[in-house]
Amino acid sequence: MTLHMEKGGISRSARRSLWKLSYLQRKCIFSVLSVGRLPIHIAFIMDGNRRYGEQRNLKEGAGHKAGYLALMLMVIYCCELGIKYITAYAFSIDNFKRGPDKVQYIMDLMLEKIELELSKKDSLFSRYGVKVHFSGNMELLSDPIKDAAKRLMVATANNSNTLLTVCFAYTSRNEILHAIQETCQEKLAQIQLQESISEGRISMCNPGQGNDVLKLADIEKHMYMAIAPDPDIIIRTSGENRLSNFLLWQSANSCLISFSQLWPGISCWHLVWAVLNFQRNHYYLEKKKKKQI
């Protein structure tokens, strides 16, 4: 099932039958895929929404709406396949450099879609047991969006089949700096407490003398993405071959896959191809992960 069905003027009952048929088709394909090792965490860089709209002469912003639908379909496919963690790169801090009207459109779209999901009794997230989490520097967002995001996280908190992390106002560098800041503040609070107990007799050790105050494990637990394991696969659409400040810390052993298709045109077959490639390289990537530990 693709987005083309939305435009064709097909009747509702015909759409339902087509959806059931495609569901059975996917069930067969996923049964075959499940013979091999399945990834636990798949991340998506949803690139190409604007170009999709421009190529089809759609009105401003229609590409992003199509991109949202593609994300929802991809979440459904991943849930059917049994993927436990899905991460989507929805909006980068770098994207704030775009024109204010373009940024505002995306913010309005995000708000609209969150409110829509919250208003439905039988939303996609409750049907598929998807818990939603927003990762990123939420302080950069306006209060209505922050509030809506929190409400959606609370509303889906009890779902336990799959965790969907939406990276919004996110970059890896910001994530690393934020984690270091949180770690520093935590450590400072500990030191101040210890000093007040021992009446100022604690001495600070200098770093680089084999006795660093801040440990790597402390920093990692404050990462925005500490809620999920490292991704097994990172998929980027629109033919680009870079991570664009996404999951740089977590992607050391991730299988990086690039498709030339623009994001709104992504289909189940792309997911199948990505999983097959992961299965080809799985043994090698597992060996690398074990060496790191």
Partner: protein, 255 residues
Amino acid sequence: MDFKKETRILYCWIAQIGNLLLRSLWRLIHVIINLCYLTLGIAKAFESYLISWGILRRYKSLQVAKLRYLAIVVESKDACQTSKIIELLQWLADVGVKHVCLYDMEGILKKSKDFILEELDGAILFGEAYENNEIPDQAQMTLEFASFSDGKEAVAKAANVLFMKYLKSGATDQNQEEAIFTESQMAEALKTVGSGGPEPDLLLVYGPARCHLGFPAWRMRYTEIIHMGPLKSMKYGSLIKAIYKFTMVRQNYGK
């Protein structure tokens, strides 16, 4: 009761046959995929020979100046093949690439750095030339050697440097929610701990999978990542093609 038992046995047999069919189908799909990759590999090898012999004209004029800093990620078990590494670096020198970072997870290349620098005429260590956060413009080839310890562990060390500065500054009473560290402070701290370096424009992965194997995260924001296949089957033509494709890329940097 016998009928129920027989039905159960029948279902068991059907499930086992079904499982066998699924496994066979899965194996067949992977065999077909491997054959596809083999055919693609042969086609790429043929294309790389055409590029090497100068038959494909568009690869003749390479705008190498666009490639200011190149990183090469190598599988650690292949990093012992220093002759292959030196050959690759000589190809890069011939093409005109001036600044290269060599990375392998376990630091095998770091151990061979003196030998590699000796074998490459005129090449110097990058750190000696890198000042004021700018890539130097010079005729000599510069080499940087990095490993996994220059990634996450270096960030942890840099975090300690920042923490010490933060304590000494006495600004610990500021609003806890405001950002206390900037990206440029982090870059300076990484340089202090010996893991500072420019962001590569292009990263070539020589290994079985397209995976950067822990290349320092701080330095990879907009780096193009290309998978070149195993080091033992590296080809000059494939290298030229990868550099050429990089020079054709246009980035928006988020805009």
